[in-house]
C-alpha cells in the first residue's frame, strides 16, 4: 500500500519536475514547480514527518510559488511563450549532465551499505505503529515523529540556538538587503499619501 503510494507520489513529482523544466510558459512552469513542492510534501508525509510536510506546503507552495509568480509578473515579455528563451545548443549537454548526476545519485543511494554502527539506508525497517500501551516511553524517534513540532522546538531552543538566532538575523538581513536593492527612491510617490486618488498621473515605470 505504502509502496504504491510512494510510486504514485514519486512519479507525480518527477513528472512535475520535468514539466517545470520543459514547459516554456513561465507561469505554467512555476505551477508545475508548485506541484513538485507538493509532491515533496507528500513524501515527507510518507516518512512520517508531517510537521515538515506542513512547513513545505506552507512555505513553498503557499509562499515561494507566490513570490515566483510575482517575480514573473515583474519581468516584461517573458510571461507568455517565448521561443527565444532557451538556446538549444545547451540542451543536449544539459540533458546528458542531468542524467549523469541522476544516475550517480541513484547508484549512490542504492549502493549504500551503512557505515560503522549506522544501518544501511535500505535496511531501515518500517517504523513501529503506535498502539495504546505499547509505547516505550523515551523512544526518541517515535517521540519525534509523534510530536515533531514540539521536538523541533526543543532542539531549536537548546542545541541549535545559535543557528536559530542566526536564521532570524539572516532573514532580517535578506529582507533589508532585498528592499535596499529593489527599492528606488523615484519609485516612491510624492509625499502625501491621502491625496493619491486613481485619477492622479499614473506611476511612470509601469502600470
Amino acid at each position: 500500500m505504502i509502496r504504491v503510494l510512494f510510486l504514485v507520489i514519486a512519479v507525480t513529482g518527477l513528472a512535475s519536475a520535468l514539466a517545470t523544466v520543459l514547459i516554456k510558459n513561465l507561469v505554467r512552469a512555476a505551477l508545475a514547480l508548485a506541484g513538485f513542492f507538493f509532491a515533496v510534501a507528500c513524501l515527507f508525509v510518507l516518512l512520517e514527518a508531517e510537521f515538515l510536510a506542513a512547513l513545505q506546503v506552507l512555505i513553498y507552495v503557499g509562499a515561494v510559488s507566490i513570490l515566483l509568480m510575482f517575480g514573473i509578473m515583474l519581468t516584461r515579455g517573458v510571461q507568455g511563450t517565448d521561443p527565444a528563451s532557451r538556446p538549444s545548443a545547451w540542451r543536449l549537454p544539459g540533458v546528458v549532465i542531468g542524467l549523469a548526476v541522476f544516475a550517480l545519485l541513484g547508484y549512490a543511494i542504492f549502493q549504500e551499505t551503512g557505515l560503522g554502527t549506522q544501518r544501511a539506508w535500505g535496511a531501515i525497517d518500517p517504523r513501529p505503529a503506535i498502539a495504546r500501551g505499547t509505547v516505550e516511553p523515551g523512544a526518541p524517534r517515535r517521540r519525534a515523529i509523534n510530536d515533531m513540532g514540539k521536538v523541533v522546538g526543543v532542539e531549536l531552543m537548546t542545541r541549535y540556538v545559535v543557528a536559530f538566532e542566526l536564521a532570524g538575523l539572516l532573514l532580517t538581513a535578506a529582507l533589508v538587503g532585498a528592499v535596499a536593492v529593489a527599492h528606488r527612491e523615484d519609485d516612491e510617490p510624492s509625499r502625501g499619501e491621502p491625496s493619491r486618488i486613481p485619477s492622479d498621473p499614473p506611476i511612470t515605470t509601469s502600470p
Partner: protein, 119 residues
C-alpha cells in the same frame, strides 16, 4: 499512525476535486454550448482589449511578496517554539524575544523605508 490520518486527507482531497469537477461535468452535459466570437472575447467593460494582457507589474507587488515570505518563515519558527515553550522556560523566552526583536526591526525598517506605502 500518521500515514493513516493522511490517507483520510488524501481521500478528502480526491473527494474535493471530484466535488469541484462533478458539476462541471453536469454543465457539460446539460448546458447549452454555442460558441461565438463576441462571447469568447475578454470582458473589459465592453471595449475591445488593447495591447498585451500579461503586462508588467510594479515592483511593489514583488516587495510585498518578498516581505510575506520572510515574515512567513519567521512566523513558522515561532510554532515549534510555542509548542515546546512549556518545558523550556525563561531561556527560551529570552531567545524568542531576541528573535522577535529581529523580526520587529525588519518590519520597522520596511516601514520607515516607505516600502509599506501602497501607491
Amino acid at each position: 499512525m500518521i500515514i493513516n490520518n493522511y490517507i483520510f486527507i488524501g481521500l478528502l482531497l480526491l473527494a474535493a476535486i471530484g466535488f469541484a469537477l462533478a458539476p462541471l461535468l453536469v454543465v457539460r452535459l446539460i448546458a447549452p454550448r454555442k460558441r461565438s466570437l463576441s462571447k469568447s472575447e475578454p470582458y473589459e467593460c465592453g471595449v475591445l482589449t488593447v495591447g498585451e494582457t500579461w503586462i508588467r507589474f510594479r515592483i511593489q507587488y514583488y516587495i510585498y511578496a518578498l516581505m510575506f515570505v520572510v515574515f512567513d518563515i519567521e512566523a513558522l519558527f515561532l510554532f515549534p517554539w510555542a509548542a515546546a515553550y512549556a518545558g523550556l522556560g525563561l531561556f527560551a523566552l529570552v531567545e524568542m524575544v531576541v528573535f522577535l526583536v529581529f523580526l520587529f526591526l525588519g518590519l520597522v525598517y520596511a516601514w520607515a523605508k516607505g516600502v509599506l506605502r501602497w501607491a
